[in-house]
């Protein structure tokens, strides 16, 4: 039994049904059949939408019956993480925030700066207590990656847009 997972996660089947609903809404605006090919661009979308709604309802029935959402053998047997652990909110939020950082930083500050911030944030979420070392490591790793992949012909944007704008 995993304590990190709420026993009645209604939002999971809800999300599946909602995604199916979006599919059906999108499909309704497309032709279901057309003169040449017999089938229009909407038919397949409709089928998937119906499938998602049906599967979501079935999952809802499972949730209502209190079916557990973990593997029968228990992941802790193989994985490095025990499922018995509850969710640690602090590290979770920090990891999510760090992974959102590129959305704000990448275009404005360039790859190496973003890499430094993301690296330090994720390392911190995993329990590192050396922020300065992590920022420097991330910056160096980001810069090396930028030059290496630039050399391979992969465009990773301007190196330091903050400087070049002047």
């Amino acid at each position: 039994m995993s304590a990190g997972v709420s026993p009645r996660p209604w939002w999971v089947p809800g999300g599946v049904i909602a995604f199916g609903g979006i599919m059906l809404y999108g499909a309704a605006q497309l032709g279901q059949s057309d003169a040449h090919s017999g089938v229009g661009p909407g038919l397949f979308v409709t089928i998937i939408g119906i499938a998602l709604v049906v599967l979501g309802v079935a999952l809802g029935v499972q949730v209502a019956r209190g079916v557990a959402f973990t593997s029968p053998e228990g992941e802790g047997e193989y994985g490095e993480v025990d499922d018995e652990d509850r969710t640690h909110r602090g590290p979770l939020l920090l990891a999510i925030a760090s992974l959102a950082a590129p959305l704000v930083l990448m275009q404005a500050a360039g790859f190496p700066v973003t890499a430094a911030v993301v690296f330090a944030g994720v390392a911190r979420a995993f329990g590192s207590r050396r922020p300065v070392v992590d920022i420097l490591t991330g910056a160096v790793l980001g810069a090396v990656a930028w030059f290496f992949f630039n050399w391979l012909g992969v465009n990773l944007g301007p190196f330091l847009p903050l400087l070049s704008e002047r």
């Binding site: 599946v16 999108g26 599967l55 999952l59 490095e80 995993f126 991330g138 992969v154």
Partner: protein, 508 residues
Amino acid sequence: MSTLDLLLHGFGVAFQPINLLMAFIGSLLGTAIGVLPGIGPALTIALLMPVTTSLEPASAFIMFAGILYGAMYGGSTTSILLNTPGESGSMMTALEGNQMARRGRGAAALATAAIGSFVAGTIGTLALSFVAPAVSELAFIFGPEDYFALMVLSFTTISVVLGNSPLRGAIAVAVGLGLGVIGIDAQTGQSRLTFGSLDLLDGIPFTIVLVSLFAVGEIIYVASRGPERSSGMNPLSGGIWMTKEDWKRSWKPWLRGTALGFPIGVLPAGGSEIPTFLSYAVEKRLSKHPEEFGSGAIEGVAGPEAANNAAAAGILVPLLTLGLPTSATSAILLSAFQGYGLQPGPLLFVNNAELVWGLIASLYIGNFMLIVLNLPLAGMWVRLLMIPRPQLYAGIVIFALVGVWGLSTSWFDLLLMFSMGLLGYAMRLYDFPAAPVLIGLILGPMAEQQLRRALAISQGDPVALVSTPISATLLGLALCIVVLPPLLRTLARRPAGDDRYAASRPTP
């Protein structure tokens, strides 16, 4: 030309200095990335995809071949030493191999895994060389309705085979199919489900979904489980290499594992999970020391590891001949083919013979390079595992960012990566398998194309979908897979009442 001539020609391609170099770099990088905990072969290929951007298709695929086998070798090293399998196919290796490592037999476990992989990989590739051309001939008689039926069969088997719950597997497939229809419809040019967003017109890039679900979601999940406990790293110190006894106990499991792995890999349901589990069960039954199983029996490493590698070769048969991916790894290879404008299928063997046979030949070469590299270099790979966990996972994120931002330096891709990462986290939390999403995403548009082709020929008459013996059989099989197991279970357990499968599948 006979298969042998074609294969020799393939070796001619693979032995060109540039391609040999690519196979070597691929094997090396594949092992180095694959050895990192939690990174399986599919993610390794996705993360290393940017490295191949400036290469010719033939050289790029030769490199992918090296990366694929390299990642599998690296994965078995991590599974044995750290007990962190990067894919379900190495779960059994982790189970038994880690026990061996804890008893100071890590070196022997690594050796039997490496040699077993080599034996299985070589036999598997040999079988691939002869089975694939035959299957590709067969594939020519497939009509669109047969292809569609085959894909439906593969969707249902994937739902049942991958993961712990058929319902959650089916939902994962359906989510993948749903993501796959977003963008411009290839046949009518209409935009579907883009809701006015220009960024969505090109569809959802496969690489982003893979990297986000497997790397980003996984990292959020592992971080949320809290700080590190004792990592349980088992260094090789004092380990004894394989003894004569070990060889005697290993060679039969290698061959049996291969015999199980390749044929199951070839099946459109495929995957490497089932053959490794089967091989483990078989070895346990046949062993003279069944009591050692669970506490470090060498057969339990040798058999599953061979089965895993033979299955990896087997999976290439439906991929190359039918364009049908049956694992996350073959799905990423398929997307790489599509990235070069190539469509795997029977025509690939005719139109791109040089590339296909160069790829197959380089599988032999890569396999050989890996055994030469990895027996002496195992100690070096182990050192990669010494990187502290926070910095290791942070480094993986930087790699993932290169892969996503490097695609087209688009802000929208970053947003996709973030939101797909959250989806991946939720899926991990509620134990939904991620691989079916990828297979649905890449196979969905192909299934739709075949469906529409079949219905266009019949002018919209749905009976056409079961009009040939092949399509009727395949769809019948698919129906059985969905209907039979829950039906049998309900019949068998009716008095017991509540069981978790009874509600797990709706009757269609």
